[in-house]
């Protein structure tokens, strides 16, 4: 069931690109539970049967910023400037007070934040609430315990269905994760083009939602479909049963697509640096791609170099890295700066969630709660004590690039991939853009309201 290839490829494109035209790039959307692993079938750009579904799924105009200041008719209020918002002001003051060890001020601010915060209110109230929690933990040195409690509470409610629903809904309303998927898939396909035995090592947090699209592409692009081995490296959070479900669905989907497929799971790792070629089952005749989505930030800062070296030792043809654009690497030495950056990032994130989801969305709440755990982790937990990985210290694209440059060199995303990403973004609300920094060319950025939020890059040895 190979879909027909596109016609009219321009002379400058080689046959591969013209065939790529027929491949859909759009990620799968949620649909009623069927045989497919996650969702409805891939849509061919030229095949309109399901486009209606997309327009359907495309999000309605969600109410805009719900800051209380929008009710106020006074002059001179700029609702968007983070500096003017009461929550960020109070939070920053409290962070400074903590740093200065001004205990009466700390008490006063914590008290005030507690009065005004709410995890169910508007953006400001939510930010106040979650950051208050982190500040409180920092002040009382209880971050570790708090984080454990929050995590275990979250895991109790976790199931494959809920996790799946969450991520699919998120992907439906926001390109936050799909952006990275599309770009990474594009780079992987291009890098592994012509290979017959593919081995993708997937170290990500998106529950394999990236791969159906790729499988589809593999199935349709050539007469000879390559063999795909997918090795998923699981970090501690995801429960084994979740992976079992995922395995079943992926295998089923691959069968449907007619792609020879092998699925492996590696779990129980303490940290990524422990991985080896043997452990991953990398064979000599395989073309390897390493796909790292939101994973490097979970590696302890001092071990990041080693992990990258480890990647190199696997001899990959391409390494794709997707990370969120924030610099939270420095919490020990400069708390206030780290706090400020954390606040900046999560303000963007929360506002994005607010505008993307319906007001009473449960998924939004779950994502916010996830953030609250990260926030506590970054701001109130001491890394030395930590033994479980999951440190969540994000770095900016430029910083990751500097690290990766030690072992790899950058691969430019081709125009086709860029076009695919742009096409993806068009399916979402206004506000999302793609930017490509020209000078250093360190990958692609997804921007929301002009702020870069997600970074994707591809590397080769």
């Amino acid at each position: 069931m190979k879909l027909s290839s596109a016609k009219g490829a321009s002379p400058s494109h080689n046959s591969f690109h013209s065939k790529r035209r027929s491949r859909h790039i759009v990620p799968p959307f949620q649909s009623p539970d069927q045989l497919e692993p996650w969702s409805s079938v891939a849509v061919d750009m030229h095949n309109n049967t399901n486009t209606n579904n997309y327009h359907h799924h495309q999000l309605q105009n969600i109410h805009t910023s719900t800051s209380l200041s929008s009710d106020y008719s006074g002059a001179g209020e700029e609702p968007c400037a983070t500096g003017d918002k009461w929550a960020s002001r109070l939070l920053m003051e409290c962070a400074r007070a903590l740093s200065d060890k001004d205990s009466s001020k700390i008490h006063h601010l914590l008290w005030m934040l507690n009065e005004l915060a709410s995890p169910y209110g508007d953006c400001d109230q939510k930010l106040a609430s979650y950051f208050l929690q982190a500040l409180f933990c920092k002040a009382t040195d209880s971050g570790q315990r708090c984080y454990k409690t929050l995590t275990s509470a979250a895991e109790k409610g976790n199931s494959f269905d809920s996790a799946r629903k969450l991520i699919l809904k998120f992907q439906e309303v926001s390109p936050w994760t799909t952006f990275g998927h599309v770009a990474a898939n594009g780079a992987i396909l291009e890098a592994l083009d012509g290979e017959t035995k593919l081995h993708i090592i997937d170290i990500s947090n998106t529950l394999c939602t990236q791969w159906p699209t790729l499988l589809e592409a593999l199935a349709t692009r050539n007469d000879e479909t390559p063999h795909l081995k997918l090795t998923v490296v699981v970090t501690a959070n995801i429960v084994r049963s979740v992976m079992k479900e995922i395995r079943q669905r992926m295998e089923k989907f691959a069968r449907l697509m007619g792609v020879p497929f092998e699925f492996n799971v590696i779990s129980g790792l303490n940290h990524l640096g422990e991985l080896t070629k043997e452990a991953l089952g990398v064979l000599e005749d395989e073309a390897v791609a390493v796909n790292c989505i939101g994973a490097l930030r979970r590696v302890a800062v001092q071990e990041r170099g080693a992990v990258i070296e480890m990647f190199k030792s696997l001899g990959p043809k391409v390494v794709t890295v997707v990370e969120e654009e924030a610099d939270l690497s420095n919490s020990q030495h400069d708390f206030v700066r780290c706090f400020e950056e954390c606040l900046r990032f999560y303000t963007l994130y929360f506002e994005m969630l607010e505008e993307s989801f319906a007001p009473t969305s449960n998924e939004k709440l779950m994502l916010e709660r996830e953030c609250s755990r990260s926030i506590v982790r970054v701001l109130a937990c001491d890394d030395e004590q930590d033994s479980g990985g999951e440190c969540e210290r994000r770095e900016r694209g430029r910083q990751w690039s500097d690290r990766l440059k030690e072992a790899f060199s950058l691969v430019r995303f081709s125009d086709d991939v860029v076009d695919d990403v742009k096409a993806l973004l068009r399916r979402y609300r206004d506000g999302w853009k793609l930017t490509q920094p020209l000078q250093d060319e360190t990958g692609l950025y997804l921007t929301w309201k002009e702020e870069p939020v997600v970074w994707v890059s591809a590397w080769k040895p």
Partner: protein, 500 residues
């Protein structure tokens, strides 16, 4: 010694209905106006610490330790907290009773929270890091917690203060001129029915000695100063309904010493648009007084003297008659009075000085020592002031909460708004000194308060709750207070050249 206490003049005089009117107008703001505010989900302020079983202890400790530190907060704001407050029934401002359970918000806990929130709002409005948005958010939170009609004294008081702050927040863009009568930007909300005002005034009189204290002390001093005069002329800065004068007239009619039945002339100062807060116009007041005087055989005439539109007083507009004893009567801050701007009062008193009066009677509210607490300091002082006032009313009539709520709504609420507006407008400036100091500074001489006058005041207070105190704070000044908070002072003066 002419005492006018026993004449229950006020009741029959104006044919007020003595039944308490119950009103159904409400001034609570609803949160329906603010769809984005979803505080409703949780009753206690504690962040959703559900997942946090073991964290509770520490947070409780933290909260409790914060409350212990709360005293420092209060004192800081009060600029040294001059007056030592005794706690009264339901308002415990500076004695903390920290509850064991965080989720059980005891009355005191809540009161303390409200005070802290109000202070935080005042700070946000004017402090070093002012942020109107923060102030707004705090006020939203406060509005959720309080209502002007229900709850404890502190809660109702906080509701009015919240509303007043809200008014400042909204109106502060619109540059209030200082010459405007600052009765608060929400003045227009409080156009009460006449019956409400009458009833509220009646209640105020019944429940508290404030009005009578001011009137009786002034009247007694006047009587003592004009014993040998045939003609008396009183210039009344703010006559309102003229309640002060019937008892004086009766005393004059029945006086034993000096020339019998001296002629009394009252000149009422009138203002352009001032009819709103008083019940009826000055003309009506004049008519009533004339009728009353006639009914008891007191020779009497009534005049008006108009102030300029900016409330400047022109002494030349007062008709003087040779040989009359001139008395200047200046009631300023009785609970049911409107706020008069400092400029207006200053203009009046300085003009009065040029008239060389025999006597000046001044009644004004007492303000605590602020130091350099700025707006927040004065705000907190105002809060203490009115909470003492509320407590005094409650002590007298603990069961009549609706009656008190009426008085609060009709009189005290607008006063609070006006008071805060005034404090807000003058926040960058030197604190206005009390008028008694001003009088002394411009040369008026103090006149001793007689023993009789002092006794009369004590007797008056004896009719009410024993929480009221009167003390002589200077030879010419009596101060009425509730517990240890001084609330109202009456002082007596004469012009510099007088031979009194």
């Amino acid at each position: 010694m002419a005492m006018a206490i026993d004449n229950a003049f006020e009741v029959d005089f104006f044919s007020y209905s003595t039944t308490t009117t119950t009103t159904t107008t409400t001034t609570t703001t609803t949160t329906d106006d603010d769809p984005t505010c979803t505080w409703n989900n949780w009753g206690s302020p504690v962040v959703d610490w559900d997942s946090f079983s073991s964290e509770r202890d520490e947070f409780q400790d933290l909260i409790e330790s914060m409350m212990d530190d709360g005293t420092e907060l209060m004192e800081l704001a009060g600029g040294g907290g001059g007056v030592d407050h005794e706690t009264s029934n339901s308002v415990s401002i500076d004695t903390m009773v920290a509850d064991e359970e965080i989720t059980n918000v005891g009355e005191d806990c809540k009161g303390l929270r409200l005070v802290h929130l109000l202070m935080a709002a005042a700070e946000a409005l004017t402090g070093a890091n002012k942020s109107r948005e923060l102030a707004r958010v705090i006020l939203v939170r406060l509005k959720e917690l309080v209502s002007p009609n229900d709850g404890t004294n502190m809660e109702r008081l906080a509701a009015y203060f919240t509303e007043a702050l809200q008014g400042l927040l909204e109106g502060s863009g619109a540059g209030h001129g200082k010459h405007l009568v600052t009765n608060g930007p929400n003045q227009h909300h409080h156009e009460h029915h006449q019956t409400d005002m009458i009833a509220a005034f009646q209640l105020l009189q019944d429940m508290s000695p404030y009005v009578k204290f001011g009137h009786f002390t002034a009247n007694q001093a006047i009587l003592e100063a004009v014993t040998h005069d045939r003609r008396i002329h009183i210039v009344d800065y703010d006559i309102m309904e003229g309640i002060q004068w019937p008892s004086l007239m009766q005393a004059l009619v029945s006086r034993k010493d000096g020339p019998p039945t001296p002629h009394l002339r009252i000149t009422a100062i009138s203002r352009g648009g001032s009819g709103r807060r008083s019940i009826g116009t000055i003309q009506e007041t004049g008519r009533r007084l004339v009728a009353f005087a006639a009914s008891i055989g007191q020779p009497f005439s009534f005049h008006q003297c108009r102030l300029d539109s900016d409330e400047t007083f022109r002494p030349s507009a007062v008709k003087l008659v040779r040989g009359e004893a001139l008395v200047i009567n200046c009631m300023l801050h009785l609970p049911h009075f409107s706020y008069r701007t400092p400029d207006s009062v200053a203009s009046f008193l300085s003009g009065a000085k040029t008239l060389n009066p025999r006597l000046v009677t001044l009644v004004e509210e007492e303000v605590g020592p602020i130091g350099d607490g700025g707006f927040v300091g004065r705000f907190m002082d105002s809060l203490h002031h009115y909470s003492a006032l509320y407590d005094s009313l409650e002590a007298g009539f603990p069961m009549q909460s609706r009656a008190r709520a009426l008085v609060e709504r009709v009189f005290l609420g607008p006063r609070i708004a006006g008071s805060l507006a005034r404090i807000y407008l003058t926040r960058g400036e030197e604190e206005n000194c009390p008028w008694s100091e001003w009088l002394a500074a411009v040369g008026f001489k103090p006149v001793n308060i007689s023993f009789a006058n002092h006794c009369q005041a004590k007797l008056l207070l004896g009719l009410f709750n024993d929480g009221y105190r009167v003390e002589e704070s200077a030879n010419n000044k009596l101060v009425l207070g509730w517990k240890s908070r001084r609330l109202l002072s009456a002082s007596i003066w004469t012009s510099p050249d007088s031979d009194l």
